[in-house]
Symmetry: C2
Subunit: 419 residues, 2 copies
Amino acid sequence: MSELIGACLIGQSGGPTAVINSSAYGVIKTALGKKCITKVLAAQHGIRGVLDDNIIDMGKEDAETLELMLTTPASLIRSCRYKLKDFREDDTDYKRILEIFKKYDIRYFFYNGGNDSMDTCNKISEYMATQDYECRIIGVPKTIDNDLVGTDHCPGFGSSAKYIALSVAEVIKDVHVYDRDAIVVIEVMGRHAGWLAGAAALSKICCEGPAFIYLPEVPFDMDQFFKDLDEFHKHHKRIVLVFSEGIKDKHGKFISEYGINDLNITDEFGHSQLGGLAATMSNIIRAKTGSKVRGIELSLLQRCASHAGSKTDRDEAAMAGAFAVEAAVSGETGKMVAFRRDTKYGIYKCTPVLVDLKEVANAEKCVPREWINEEGNNVTDEFIEYVVPLIQGEIETPYEHGMPKYARLKRIPAEPVNE
Amino acid sequence: MSELIGACLIGQSGGPTAVINSSAYGVIKTALGKKCITKVLAAQHGIRGVLDDNIIDMGKEDAETLELMLTTPASLIRSCRYKLKDFREDDTDYKRILEIFKKYDIRYFFYNGGNDSMDTCNKISEYMATQDYECRIIGVPKTIDNDLVGTDHCPGFGSSAKYIALSVAEVIKDVHVYDRDAIVVIEVMGRHAGWLAGAAALSKICCEGPAFIYLPEVPFDMDQFFKDLDEFHKHHKRIVLVFSEGIKDKHGKFISEYGINDLNITDEFGHSQLGGLAATMSNIIRAKTGSKVRGIELSLLQRCASHAGSKTDRDEAAMAGAFAVEAAVSGETGKMVAFRRDTKYGIYKCTPVLVDLKEVANAEKCVPREWINEEGNNVTDEFIEYVVPLIQGEIETPYEHGMPKYARLKRIPAEPVNE
């Protein structure tokens, strides 16, 4: 494989995470050490930043700033949600991307994100293969949803899982101090996959754990739910319930879209519901049982909670970025970095490998049915064993003036090579 | 002062906190070391546990369990919300309390809680003074609301303030990754006092900080709010707003009780609102501006978040408990432990002192008007300087099987001395 000399570009898209900056750090730090990489650039706001020529030079940032990326939440180089068309139907965006790549002599492109981002990455990779311009393209995985295929798990998931497990444990401890009936409904992110909701089960390692956990992988049966709740209520005054935001009934209707009317309940709560699943389920349970019910939506809190981040997740996020650069320099393209779990003698080990981008783009990995209990209202111990290694270790965060010291970028525009 | 020999009893009431177990630890550990204290007992579920004769022997717990109380959130000896009547009108409960005290030879009573708990503590203290039974009674402060009078600050506040500051910072970092309009409404606890909402301002130490913060101390003016919001929106696409749950308009009406109808807005959101302030304000802002608005209620998450606890707060909570025992043994009664801030040469120092229970009972300390800006939409730097020392230091939590190791009590019933 001949040596490819030129600049590299990193971009990020989709929702931010507690450790997405660590993947950028892995790319940037490794790329800065490569002789064949002439400049290390970042597109602000992902592929939109390429289209808008919003490119900054990461080589001009201080070394201390780069190190602080390892403990700074959310995407410092910012993000976007932008879907590229099929270039065989409309290549306008692609021509512009090629123009920008040529302008800065970009020969290495790293795109960090989830399903949609890998779709973008794959499309650009396929387009570039049709052009007379060598450019190596590698996807770096990122998603708290943990739903990318071809990888054991995804950077970002471990930290959110840890935050959820800790928060649910603390709510359970809180709810148990009073000697009275109380039902708490906790809504966790996950439109199609229940990985994050399932992570709430880890709270049972340190306390009672949630009574029930509902994942989108199993159709939600309202009648069965109230039977289970009644039975549990006979022996427990305090009940904490965890729901994926994306649970649906057997007809495919989101439970978050249920109104009280769907259940033929007419009472003071008989308006159509606003807000998400926590509000909807709280109102339904309150109307049906008369119990005191509190809804808690973890919302954005669960996405970038670096204060409760997992060191394992952070280190793996950085490793994924570094491995992407090594792979590209060694000649790889059209691939995504994936993780293989090499647990041996009970000791967890994670090895970075490569998978084809086209296998990953737009596909979704759900929680296997066998990791959900038969009743469909909790996860199994196998699920917990899968998650536990991913939440290990605390991130040591530097503090300044009493709060975490976050990286602040200078954002110096990149200088064109060819114009 | 003659030496008083007998058992001691601790009880807790009101909402739990991240560090309330540390105050219990301070009482228990110190009491176990006193020769004059024959037994160290705890009433489960506070004063209700006394009335119900639900008393456990903390001397029978393992040393390791006691140490784990320093890192376990929420009240291990549980809590209650129970208001005692005036004993001059109805002394039924008081006679029962005296009966239980005699049964276990309780000569020292420590009650750990907020305003209502100090009212309970004060009433029992006044009643006991009318009886021929010597018992020394000391209140130990606790409240995330930070609204007890006679003390610089309250154990529990620092940890919740830290959690709120970190969480708001992380949400702000999250919201800023996209290049689009977004408004986020964050609801923080505080029915009458804005200490917790104000703590969100500490996020500006590490990032942009919230656009505006609204406290219950200043009447909320909806028209002025929308003027401020419009002005801010001209220069900022992403807006994070923080509200105390307890903000009211100039007529004293809670904003959380506003429906869209109050504003003469007729549209798809024109139902009366369910849920709290975050939902109400989100709906109002969405209807008025047409912007994408997300409401986040920190809810119970902000109360027992020991994973983000302040070491300073934790250490002071334990100190308050220890000081209560020392004071009682030295002959004090009818007092509450309070904190005096002895900052010198810029170095923060907190000294425990005693204040009269009757001064504290039922009174409320609000944020001084001069610590809120003139416009009434943020706190001043003086407010931030007040809070910063209280959130310092991380709590080192022992882990087991991948999650925090929480204390589990054996809860062995106390043995009566006289029956």
